[in-house]
Symmetry: C2
Subunit: 212 residues, 2 copies
């Protein structure tokens, strides 16, 4: 399997081109969310976008490329969510606050179109490109959490603990929000933060009773 072309085959040079591209992406998001990846055919996407398939393939060389674009957009949105959160809440000054921020941002980021996110996470074909992108993102977060834990936390293996924390947040938030059962978001956030905090500070509290 030679890695497919995933970049747009043509950058739009006029506004109307850019508009068409956005229409296609928006339509793809809706179609994938509603019908899943396999059933979300390129023809259906084009139809929903009120654009001919020819136009679709002018901007996206193949179906996977559309999904990659959607994923990128989601990752960007995540960074944006974090930025906005810090604008009002300020940067976290305690381990507790940092963990809460982590969880809160993850939840916020999943609230927008959980259906689509579910499809992306569960049904999307894992192209090398996409996997790398996600892996980099994950590593970044693990490194960040490792930095948080290093000075204060009481866990035997900081690296492992960081991986556990990051993955727990990501996976659990996704599952609980995308799942069918109703969910009290605030309560969920509190519980998840409690679990992580207790995990990561239990030892120091037990030995010294100090909290940060």
């Amino acid at each position: 399997m030679p890695g497919k072309q995933l970049q747009p085959r043509k950058e739009p040079r006029q506004i109307r081109g850019e508009l068409t591209r956005q229409r296609i992406l928006a339509a793809a998001a809706r179609v994938f969310a509603e019908m899943g990846y396999a059933a979300g055919t390129t023809n259906r996407i084009a139809e929903r976008a009120r654009v001919s398939i020819g136009s679709l393939y002018q901007y996206y060389p193949n179906k996977d490329a559309i999904l990659v674009a959607l994923a990128s957009r989601h990752l960007d949105a995540g960074a944006e969510t974090l930025r906005r959160h810090r604008e009002t809440a300020g940067p976290p000054d305690t381990l507790d606050a940092a963990l809460r921020e982590l969880v809160h941002v993850a939840i916020q980021n999943h609230l927008d179109d959980p259906q689509l996110f579910r499809v992306m996470a569960e049904q999307a074909p894992r192209s090398a490109e996409l996997l790398e992108q996600v892996a980099r993102y994950e590593e970044e977060r693990v490194a960040y959490v490792r930095g948080l834990l290093e000075p204060e936390a009481d866990v035997s293996n900081v690296d492992l603990a960081a991986r556990i924390v990051v993955n727990t947040v990501e996976l659990l938030v996704h599952k609980m929000i995308a799942g069918p059962e109703p969910l009290d978001l605030a309560a969920f956030e509190d519980e998840l933060v409690a679990m992580l905090t207790r995990y990561v500070t239990a030892g120091s509290e037990r030995s010294s009773g100090l909290r940060h």
Copy 2:
């Protein structure tokens, strides 16, 4: 989407029929694990099983049915793993031990063919039947954990906590084992158990001071 037929269209009456069926299932497991669900075509499965495509369709009415059979087999294996574990370790007598058992069994159960399990969990089409089966299984486990927590644990919302525990174990174990990075299984088990235990018992060690 009218629910497809998922049961074998013919129960084998001779040993050679049963043998063929097993060969098909084994081949399907290998093919799906190696190539993913979409690329694991029925023809490829038949070829790998050294069986004609016609024979395959004699026992499995369609591709999805093969996957459902594989999933059932995995669930059964899970119950079996638990049984075997209790044979040597005995039934858990503390909350701690029960959580450890939960984690341990989940890990053991994922060690056999993680690739296949990854495919099943991530790429399989979610037929109503399969979803129900999994949902029932999950509910069962949530109920079990709720029973564990009810008397002893200090969490504000036992139901939510049980859901969090069950999903954390399932998702995290899957992700960490199927993931590409090397993993010290014993250390991982200890850490995960530590997280859950601290989550669920932190309050009883702290007198108060937490919200709720």
